[in-house]
Amino acid sequence: MNIKTQKIVGQVIFVLLAFYLDGLMKWAFLNNMNTGNFMILPQIMLMAIVLLSMRIDNRRHLLTYGIIFGVMYDSYYFGIIGLYTVLLPLIMIGIDHFKFLFIKANIGYELSIYFLALTFLQTGIYVLERLLQQTSTDVLDFITYVLGPTLLWNMIVFFVLYIPLANLSDWLVKYRRENK
């Protein structure tokens, strides 16, 4: 196995771990099923995806990741295919398109990009589900009870986990940067 495949395997395992963490975190400590209105949705996988797409330069590579993990997420967690499957690649392409604006990735940039990506993703899911009548929540309730708490929680987690996660994803992509 050459180093390129090794790095790709590493990236896939990184995203997969984050994928499972989403479900487990929701199950283990954000499991408010009969108390409270607030819905906190852990989006650790999106963190991994954002960090990787800030570092990987190959657009086709990004698109493949987006579609594969999107389909997995939809099928395993939602039972409806077409939410993450479409939104995730769009986010990744978007980040790839605009990342030339940033000279060097630092916590401020990445935090704000993650914020935008999360808002886009949650709003996209809400709009699509509303269209398909999977929910009857109105917009204000969505912003107050779902989007707000989710953003807050995830921003804090991103802030806390930034240094290890960023170093890890640097290391996972490094090889490609040197060979450019």
Partner: protein
């Protein structure tokens, strides 16, 4: 026309839109109509769930430990309370045994094979919960190979928690009773009255403001009292009779003053459990 088709970005945008809505519409419809998702999706979900099990077991163990600690904290007061009830319980147990025996004999006499109260159970452990606001699903590690089917009711230790919505080969999804969904999640239920007159209705919605289940289409609200027990009535065929849902909390009129809805405190504390029980009814009703 030439110019339109030469614009690559527009075409890509169009394709994306078509694919999105196509996929969404197809999967939503398939989920509502057919018994199971397509085979490819089943296999995919199973593979993901098997790997997910590796992470889920330590998490569940941790969760059990933490709930044991909180149990330990309450032990003293709980013990006092339980001691008072233990005599009553053993009495009831003996009585239940006798009655069950009698019931069995009477059924044989009448040549009844299975009634609405007969069911068998399958235990499963929970792998994860969907990080989604409107699809509150649990993924469990049993599927069609264990005989699960769509729409079977699911209990945790104390009471009803939901219903199976998607069955794969070795994993399936449970939709929680607390989902506020217009289409699914309706349980035919009854309130146990004082003098054995049962009041029937349908538990149809979840009030997320108060955390109570709402029972509608109630035929008689006069004799309902706070604290009466609510259970499934077995009408409709899929759910057997006698699964405990919760206790009556109060009665509220709807906005137009036309119908009364009964608010129920759910018995299942939808928080501290790692194992669920799936109920397989032995009477198959009309589909």
């Amino acid at each position: 026309m030439q110019k339109f088709f030469s614009n690559k970005k527009l075409i890509i945008l169009m394709v994306i839109l078509i694919v999105t809505f196509g996929l969404l519409a197809v999967t939503v419809n398939i989920r509502d109509n057919k018994d199971t998702p397509p085979a490819v999706q089943q296999v995919g979900n199973d593979v993901v769930s098997v790997v997910g099990g590796v992470f889920a077991y330590p998490t569940n163990a941790l969760k059990n430990v933490s709930s044991e600690f909180s149990d330990l904290y309450n032990t003293y007061t709980e013990n006092k309370h339980l001691k008072a009830r233990i005599d009553e319980l053993s009495q009831n147990k003996v009585k239940l045994q006798v009655v069950q025996e009698e019931n069995k004999k009477l059924k044989e006499e009448l040549k009844l094979d299975a009634t609405l109260t007969d069911y068998s159970t399958v235990n499963a452990s929970v792998l994860s919960r969907s990080p989604s606001s409107w699809q509150s699903y649990l993924t469990i590690n049993r599927g069609s190979t264990s005989g699960l089917k769509k729409n079977m009711p699911v209990m945790s230790g104390k009471g009803l928690i939901g219903r199976i919505i998607e069955v794969d080969k070795i994993s399936s999804k449970v939709e929680l009773i607390s989902t506020n969904n217009e289409l699914n999640d309706k349980f035919a239920s009854e309130i146990m009255g004082d003098n054995n007159n049962s009041i029937t209705g349908v538990v149809s919605r979840y009030d997320s403001d108060s955390g109570k289940l709402v029972m509608e289409n109630v035929n008689d609200t006069k004799s309902i009292k706070k604290g009466q027990r609510v259970m499934t009535s077995g009408l409709g065929g899929v759910t057997p009779r006698g699964l405990y849902i919760g206790k009556v909390y109060g009665i509220k009129k709807d906005n137009y003053g036309m119908t009364n809805s009964v608010y129920i405190t759910p018995a299942a504390e939808l928080r501290n459990f790692t194992v669920v029980t799936i109920i397989k009814s032995q009477v198959s009703g009309e589909r």
